[in-house]
């Protein structure tokens, strides 16, 4: 179960990522709770496993169009599939790593696992997940936080 302040940590991490990396603000919708273990995903997903004081996963999921524009905003000209997958993992890693500012060093994050074009593969370890909707330019993405 996440506390409100903990959800805010992930919201701040998400908005900070877009402001710093893309030099453009992303708007974050109201977080909502999913209780059926299926928080959903877009084409590309970067999944971070969490261990230590908390257990579960954090994932960032976005469509290719959004990730392509984000790469271009970062002055990256190579928008190959490899770089798209690299980026979705890096976003998940950065937002999860930044959360240690509030969760502390026992919030241990893994290297990212990437899932592309296989939404069925993405399952939450627990029934309850918080979904933070992200809107940037014309694109939508989501950050999913599923912690014990």
């Amino acid at each position: 179960m996440l506390k409100e302040a903990e959800i805010r940590t992930f919201i701040e991490g998400t908005t900070n990522y877009f402001e710093s990396s893309a030099r453009q603000t992303a708007s974050v919708g109201s977080p909502y709770l999913v209780t059926d273990g299926k928080p959903g995903a877009y084409e590309y997903t970067g999944i971070i496993s969490i261990s230590g004081a908390r257990k579960g996963i954090v994932y960032f999921s976005a469509p290719r169009g959004m990730l392509t524009v984000l790469l271009m905003r970062m002055q990256e000209t190579d928008t190959s599939d490899a770089n798209i997958m690299d980026l979705v993992g890096e976003v998940a890693n950065t937002i999860s790593g930044n959360a240690r500012k509030d969760f502390g060093r026992n919030f241990i994050i893994s290297v990212p696992t990437i899932v592309a074009n296989d939404i069925e593969k993405i399952t939450a370890p627990f029934a309850r997940s918080y979904v933070i909707p992200i809107n940037w330019r014309t694109h939508s993405a989501k950050l999913v936080v599923c912690l014990e």
Binding site: N16, Y17, S20, S21, R23, L71, M74, Q75, E76, D78, A82, N83, D86, L87, G89, E90, N93, T94, I95, S96, G97, N98, A99, R100, K101, F103, G104, R105, I109, S110, V111
Partner: protein, 130 residues
């Protein structure tokens, strides 16, 4: 921290990060005339090998990486050359991790995500004593 490299001479830079995008971004965004990129590695083990081969003066170091993490890698690089200047560039934003990295031999810490300006300011601060 009394590490020094020879005055105003070109400095060799090695970039260590498991993300290709970040490696390329650091190379593209760094505007320090004296720095010349001599190589990039995607994990700690690769970094140690490349370090022995290219003998860089300055290293940017990610922390969360496969094979060998950044803290272990910092220790190994410092054991090989105690004069190397290491800027940790990591998303791990807790103070304890930054303190540990410095204790193990790093000289600076830049938190991801970063702007180009923050990156260059971090390099300038790192090199201010050289």
């Amino acid at each position: 921290m009394n590490k020094r490299v020879s005055s105003q001479s070109p400095l060799k830079l090695m970039i260590v990060d498991d993300s290709n995008i970040i490696r390329r971004r650091i190379e593209r965004s760094q505007q320090i005339d004296r720095l010349e990129v001599v190589g990039a590695a995607s994990n700690g083990r690769e970094a140690v090998e490349l370090f022995r081969r290219t003998q860089p003066d300055v290293v940017t170091m990610d922390l969360t990486m496969p094979e060998m993490d950044g803290i272990e890698c910092v220790q190994q690089l410092v054991a090989i050359n105690s004069k190397v200047l290491i800027l940790v560039v990591s998303a791990l934003a807790d103070k304890a991790t930054a303190v540990e990295a410095i204790e193990k031999g790093a000289n600076g810490f830049l938190c991801k995500p970063f702007t180009d300006r923050q990156l260059n300011d971090a390099f300038l601060e790192l090199l201010s004593d050289t």
